[in-house]
């Protein structure tokens, strides 16, 4: 099933890689540079799933998730957090912030697709 995915990351390299992985899997990728930009993009599209980095300028991943969850029309969009640490603490933090799941960077494209399917079908 083709999913529409919004990927938010301040690193151009990471955005490029997400874009490549997502489009190679037949998904539609929308990209944003940080939380603020992500929210702007969400005004125009309604993705099936959101992927977001945590450390970003202007609005970080936690702030972004908060904002998404606070908006009724977006509150149920699954959100995967991109994290470089596999530490349980960070996962707990991501979950506490309202994330649906997480992807450990660097990601394996196959695992990314699998994770997306686990939260968005």
């Amino acid at each position: 099933m083709s999913l529409e995915v919004l990927a938010v990351d301040d690193s151009r390299t990471m955005r490029d890689m997400l874009n490549l992985a997502l489009s190679s899997a037949g998904f539609t990728a929308h990209l944003a540079e940080d939380g603020v930009h992500g929210l702007e993009v969400l005004e125009d599209i309604h993705p099936d799933v959101i992927i977001t980095d945590i450390n970003m300028p202007r609005m970080d991943g936690f702030g972004f998730i908060d904002a998404v969850r606070a908006e009724a029309k977006w509150s149920r969009i699954p959100i995967l957090v991109l994290t470089t640490e596999s530490a349980d603490e960070l996962k707990a933090k991501a979950r506490a912030a309202g994330a649906t799941g997480w992807i450990v960077k660097p990601f394996d494209p196959a695992k990314l697709v699998k994770a997306l399917q686990m939260v968005a079908g």
Partner: protein, 779 residues
């Protein structure tokens, strides 16, 4: 298109350079006393992003180092460590090494552990962290597979659940799911074989699971990727409709998975919901009655009857095995502290809506928003191959020549200046200029990257000579041609090292002289009348002219009785052979002398000059053309030759009268200009076209200004035109010609030499005033 991963990799290294730049900027701010959390965050993020990207490309050395650096910065960010000056110097060193590692990774090179090791050790000691090699190793990434091919693209389409027979058996009036993944009808025999391996999964979501955006249906689908499954839904806890709290989940499921995979694979499916649900996974094989963990916080009861009615398909699976499959029903749903927003219940009384659930979510408030399908791209920039730009630059050069030729033809045709052709040509000229400037702007970049590299040179060189030195920069955003920036790196490095090593006094001497303990080196860039001027200055002792002169005499560079002005003595530093191995220090002497610096600058069409004040310091000033391709020139005639003089060297033009001229012995004249005297040079004679004239009265001279403030008057026969000319290098074919910078093609197709007035004046005045050595003394 080439390999997309190779492109991303290349782009990663470009991004790294940008990140390294903001890292340096951030550290500089911290060094200046900025404690803004966002500044620290910028530094942290830069290291973090480099690590993230490096991980994706399996650049282990880079990841390892960045990780340790990041950990230290995280301590700062968290306020657990407050860096002092020493700590920030160490961070700078880390940033430098990080840069080395990035470039090493880019060029498939390596950075010696002997470089990284001690710095890391210091870092860990400073921040008070244990060496955490283990965790780093734990992080070691799985290199990103480049194969996005078959496996991913051909994901089997999931069967449409809504197409399942509506007559699927149900429990208590609700349907159960049976999701055979593309498999033939199960026969008892087939099952007997396949059911030897597998698991039963009991799954009871808590409200928080729905609140986090998870969806049981998708988990079951993921399970189906592992093996064949049959799903039974338990709705026993569903209250009457009038008592139903939509924020509370009431359903639980049992899934039988027939698979060769391990229990771990099954658990991985539930990774995101671990802790948000009751989950029990038991092997299906052998004596199926594996006991649930004693701690399992559920009350179970066996509802055998439910099995029979609920999942008749499951019965044949169970029957060959002795114990009947038991379906557990959670009788006491654990209440969750936070009521979650309504979760889409994956099971609905209407079968057709089963697969609709996600679709509804997709369109949100049931108003389907169709996305454009065009990915939203970050800010638009285009990376262009430098060769293409250079080709454009060349073409514009040709355009300029062509335009000049056309103008000439129009003039020769005798068309009046206000004719449509002439006015049209005028506009064409303006457009050509605009195009040319725009093209040049494509090649221009801020000089900042170069200045930041110098920051490192100062840190390293000051450490190696034990001086306390601080670099100040100004005009970092001055845009300079890319090639110029690249080719300035070496000469500038040498000058900076020189300033630290020779320019600045030792700390003791500084203190003795009442100067600040910290020596200052200043690097500035600015646009000044069509050129880029870069200055390197120090607040050191200034040039010891007596010693310089003595040394030059010892090395027989000048005669012992030479009478030199201060400026001439200073310029002795640029003579080849002035520095010798005997005093090449560890630092500034790397087989390069100031003569090499000077010729590198000259090769860029630039000039370098020195000003020095004893006890106050020395300033080296480099003046460079904005572009290497075109210049504004004055076309002059001398002895029937056409020459081009760069316009920016000409201060003014004048016609000589008798009172302007003063003779200073045979063949030597000076021109009196507004109370000052300027040496007169006959261009024709200097270039060897003719003998010096007897009289210059009535002649035309160009007043030439130089970087060091010296002036000279160049006598020419006539001024013909003022125009842009395209520079065509001569050095490739003829080597360096004294006094000549390059050549050009004029509008009539004639080739004309472009003068290097400063060099010419330097050569000439050198010959008249200091007879002996043949070297140019004034830059």
């Amino acid at each position: 298109m080439s390999d997309p991963m190779a492109e991303i990799r290349a782009s990663f290294f470009i991004e790294c350079e940008e990140l390294l730049e903001s890292l340096q900027d951030g550290l500089q701010l911290m060094d200046d006393g900025d404690t803004d959390p966002e500044t620290i965050n910028i530094v942290f993020r830069a290291v973090h992003s480099i690590k993230g990207g490096a991980g994706a490309f399996g650049l282990d050395d880079l990841v390892r180092f960045a990780h340790r650096f990041e950990t230290a910065m995280d301590e700062v960010r968290a306020g657990r460590f407050h860096p002092d000056g020493e700590a920030i110097r160490l961070f700078f060193a880390c940033a430098d090494i990080l840069g080395d590692l990035v470039r090493a990774a880019r060029d498939d090179d390596q950075v010696d552990d002997a470089v990284t090791g001690p710095v890391l050790e210091k870092l860990d000691k400073l921040v008070g962290l244990e060496e955490e090699e283990e965790e780093v190793l734990d992080f070691t990434p799985a290199t990103l597979s480049l194969d996005f091919g078959d496996g991913l693209l051909d994901l089997p389409d999931l069967p449409d659940l809504s197409a399942l027979p509506a007559a699927a058996s149900s429990v208590e009036g609700l349907p159960s799911l049976d999701l055979p993944a593309d498999m033939p009808a199960l026969t008892a025999e087939a099952l007997a074989e396949t059911t030897t391996k597998g698991f039963t999964v009991h799954f009871k979501p808590e409200n928080a699971l729905y609140a986090s955006g998870n969806e049981p249906l998708y988990l079951f689908r993921a399970l189906r990727d592992i093996g064949d499954i049959s799903v039974t839904c338990h709705c026993g806890d569903l209250p009457n409709l009038n008592q139903l709290d939509p924020d509370t989940g009431h359903l639980s499921w049992d899934v039988t998975v027939h698979t060769e995979e391990s229990e771990q694979s099954v658990r991985e499916v539930f990774e995101f919901v671990d802790g948000l649900c009751v989950l029990e996974i038991k092997p299906l094989t052998g004596t199926a009655a594996m006991i649930a963990p004693a701690s399992a916080p559920v009350v179970e009861k066996v509802v055998e009857k439910a099995v029979e009615t609920a999942a008749p398909e499951a019965a044949p699976i169970a029957s060959p095995q002795k114990p009947p499959v038991s379906i557990k029903m959670v009788t006491a749903p654990a209440p969750t502290p936070k009521p979650a927003p309504v979760a889409k219940l994956p099971v609905d009384s209407d079968d057709d809506t089963l697969d609709e659930a996600p679709k509804d979510e997709k369109s949100g408030s049931f108003a389907p928003i169709k996305a454009t399908g065009t990915p939203t791209q970050p800010r638009a920039t285009v990376r262009v191959d430098l060769e293409r730009i250079d080709r454009l630059v060349n073409l514009v050069g040709e355009l300029v020549i062509n335009q000049a030729m056309l103008s000439q033809s129009v003039t020769e045709a005798g068309l009046p200046p206000n004719s449509p052709v002439s006015t049209g040509l005028e506009e064409f000229l303006q457009l050509t200029r605009d195009i040319q400037e725009s093209v040049m702007m494509i090649r221009a970049q801020p000089i900042k990257s170069l200045f930041q590299r110098m920051g490192r040179i100062v840190r390293e060189s000051s450490a190696s000579v034990g001086k306390d030195v601080r670099l100040y920069t100004d005009g970092e955003n001055t845009e300079v041609d890319k090639t110029v920036i690249e080719r300035l790196a070496d000469p500038l490095t040498h000058m900076i090292r020189n300033a630290v090593d020779h320019g600045l006094e030792s700390t003791e001497k500084r203190l003795e002289r009442g100067k600040s303990r910290e020596g200052h080196v200043t690097l500035t860039a600015q646009h000044r009348s069509g050129r880029i001027v870069i200055e390197v200055s120090d607040d050191g002792a200034g040039i010891n002219r007596e010693r310089v002169k003595q040394k030059a005499i010892e090395k027989e560079l000048i005669p012992a009785d030479a009478q030199l002005s201060d400026s001439e003595i200073d310029n002795l530093l640029f003579l080849p052979g002035f520095s010798t191995a005997a005093e090449i220090s560890n630092l500034s002497g790397r087989g390069v002398g100031m003569d090499v610096v000077k010729s590198s600058i000259q090769a860029l069409g630039g000039r370098i000059s020195i000003t020095s004040h004893e006890g106050e310091g020395t300033t080296f000033s480099i003046s460079l053309p904005l572009t290497l391709a075109v210049l504004d020139g004055m076309v002059v005639r001398v002895a029937d030759e056409t020459l081009v003089v760069p316009l920016n060297a000409i201060l003014e033009t004048l016609t000589l009268t008798e009172t302007d001229l003063k003779a200073l012995g045979p063949e030597t004249h000076v021109v009196q200009i507004r109370g000052g005297f300027v040496p007169l040079l006959d261009l024709g004679a200097e270039l060897g076209y003719r003998k010096p004239q007897d009289s210059y009265v009535g002649g035309i001279v160009l007043l030439i200004g130089q970087e060091d403030g010296n002036r000279a008057a160049l006598a020419v026969d006539a001024i013909e035109d003022q125009r842009q000319v395209v520079i065509k290098g001569l050095e490739g074919s003829y080597g360096r010609i004294p006094g000549i910078a390059a050549a050009t093609i004029l509008g009539d197709g004639q080739i004309a030499l472009i003068l290097d007035p400063t060099d010419l004046v330097g050569q000439a005045s050198g010959r008249t005033r200091v007879r002996q050595p043949q070297h140019a003394l004034v830059g």
